[in-house]
Amino acid sequence: MSQLKLKDLYDGFRDPETIKAFKKIIEEDAKKLEKPINIMEVCGGHTHTIMKYGIPQLLPSNINFIHGPGCPVCIMPKERIDHAYILSMQEDVILVTLGDMIKVPGSNGSLQDARSKGADVRFVYSPMDCIKIANENPNKKVIFFAIGFETTTPMTAALLDVVIKQDIKNIYFHINHVTVPEVMKELIDSRDEHVDSYNHQIDAFLGPSHVSVISGSKIYEEFPRDYNKPVVVAGFEPVDVMQSILMIIKQFIENRCELEIEYKRLVSYEGNIKAQELINKYFKKSSLFKWRGLGNIKDSGLKLRDEYLTYDAEHIYKDILPIGEIEDHKLCICGDILRGMATPPECTIFGTACKPSTPIGSCMVSSEGACAAYYKYGNLL
């Protein structure tokens, strides 16, 4: 890593002149559109970029964003957080997870609250750090509460791979990995009784590049083909987002509907085959996964294959982990936000009862959630 200059990651992709140039071209081209287009950014990372860099302020009024299902933290239902909470409260358990996850409220509180009550909860940058924790605490059970989309799944698989190869006895997994295409389909397919099919609001998708670095752009193939929705796989810098928007506009004016990659610097059609193999070796689709605010979505979750049940904390602790469903806060409209039907300020408790310091829904918890992005960066327009 010391050889990699981090500067290379973003340099040039925030260049003011380039951004202004894109603004101009977009303004010109957008005039040729027959109707306004609504672009859904599937991923919270994009929502964050869009708000942080003020992208909507650069766009003509016929180009709109619809914020999508966001990030693994946003969509984690209370039931799963309760699992993490209960596991962390076991005497001999060290619960390990990634970043923001420790702030999400479950029905008893967040993992942060569990920690202030004495539970040993830790966050790591890389799942591999679990190995060090396990070695240093041979008498404890280290449970990795694994979260994330396609991006983070290979890291969990790699950890399990090492655990098996080195025969490490005290690392277990609670798996909450989910996949992006299934939720996109759900957003298009499902109907709401109250709103006359909101799917018509989504005209095109921005696909998260992080996901496609692993899975390739191929996972979105069906959207232009079967659903008539263009997809552009986009990077996270402002220049990336501007260029991707332009690519989408061009598709509309040229009457095309395709899958394109803006983030060519790392994304290919096939993706990272090695990582995909590792995932397939250890994981299989679980029939249902409940998304917070969206409900059960078929085939959208992953779980460990049966051969690896001995590493599955959900299996080992099944007697103490509740299975009932939990309702979300009555006033919280995270579900509608994640579906792209509402924006955060439409929630009656946005910024009042619900703030990043006292989040009620998870859209406010994750720094990549739509509510947090709106709260943090405001909307000066």
Partner: protein
């Protein structure tokens, strides 16, 4: 708030809530209510301040907990235009702590006292059972002689220009990098330093200083937000003129942080009368080339900080909230 979480110590919103709802409420008085870096007492002649220091790791690139403990309190005094004079030092040590390490820490305290021309005049030591503290906690309290009266973060107006004394976020980024074993280029180094010499240079040049504040926990973002509220003004910052080193930007990219919210231990924000801004900049540049004018005061959105991007968009810069946590991917 039912229990205290780590977020309550972040220098941001939760921290403010804890302080105002618990401590200010109980201890209320005119001096405390000003909530300056140090209390101004004795008819404006003395500044008085205290701070406790806990850091992991104890030694990091650029400084250690000892240097930090002296700089921290001396800088709070300097920020009121005071020359640090007398400090007390109280130490809580975990049983089993290595004596040689303690010597190193104390030596580094001594060196930093000399930079400030201050002395330790009283102290206390406690040793507690293993596990009761994380290795060592140090508290320092200090008294300084005010050299320039009237500095206050409650008096900033549209006649002031906002500067920072050097590139920001280096301390916070260094601590994160060393804690997480991120193998970064070695030039990432805490900014930890005593600020009195720079403040003295500004005072000696006879500049009209309105407010000074060192941007510790909560970073520059917290300082600007507190100032905007305390003086009921809008601070407009030009994003492109905020000095941030490549290393710090790199860490922020990697972990999803904002440099404006990262802690500093030798960087201060300065509000100075418009006509003196250029001169102040020249003086600050003598210590650090990266010193910059970053913003001005307007009446756009009172109590708020607005960040203007180089491509013409605007957004609010909010107080950091929560414990700084790395993003997921």
């Amino acid at each position: 708030m039912k229990t205290i979480t780590l977020a309550h110590g972040n220098g941001g919103q939760e921290n403010n809530e804890l302080i105002s709802k618990v401590f200010y409420k109980a201890f209320k008085n005119d001096i405390l209510d000003k909530s300056e870096d140090a209390a101004v007492i004795e008819d404006g002649n003395l500044a008085f301040s205290t701070d406790s220091f806990t850091v992991s790791p104890l030694f990091f690139n650029g400084a250690d907990i000892g240097k930090l403990a002296i700089c921290g309190t001396c800088n709070d005094l300097a920020m009121m235009g005071a020359k640090p004079k007398y400090l007390t030092c109280s130490v809580i040590i975990e049983e089993g702590f290595d004596k040689r390490t303690l010597d190193k820490i104390v030596k580094s305290m001594k060196e930093e006292l000399e930079v400030n021309g201050a002395i330790i005049v009283s102290g206390d030591t406690k040793v507690v059972p293993r596990g009761s503290v994380d290795k060592i906690f140090i508290n320092t309290t200090g008294i300084g002689e005010i050299q320039y009266k009237g500095i206050s973060s409650n008096n900033i107006t549209s006649e002031d220009t906002i500067l920072v004394s050097r590139d920001i976020g280096a301390h916070g980024a260094t601590i994160f990098a060393s804690r997480e074993g991120i193998d970064m280029n070695t030039n990432l180094k805490s900014d930890c330093a005593s600020l009195y010499p720079q403040v003295k240079a500004l005072i000696d040049a006879d500049l009209k200083i309105t407010a000074l504040r060192d941007a510790t926990r909560g970073g520059v973002s917290a300082v600007l937000n507190e100032w905007a509220k305390q003086s009921n003004i809008c601070i407009e910052v030009e994003e492109a003129s905020i000095p941030i080193s490549d290393e710090v930007t790199g860490i922020c990219e990697l972990l999803g942080f904002e440099a404006m919210a990262l802690a500093n231990e030798g960087t201060f924000v300065l509000a100075i009368k418009n006509e003196d801004a250029q001169k102040a900049l020249e003086i600050l540049k003598q210590t650090n080339e990266t010193a910059s004018i970053i913003g001005s005061v307007s009446a756009e959105h009172l109590g708020k900080v607005v960040l203007n991007s180089a491509w013409g968009t605007k957004r609010f810069l909010e107080l950091p909230t929560g414990e700084l946590l790395p993003r997921i991917c």
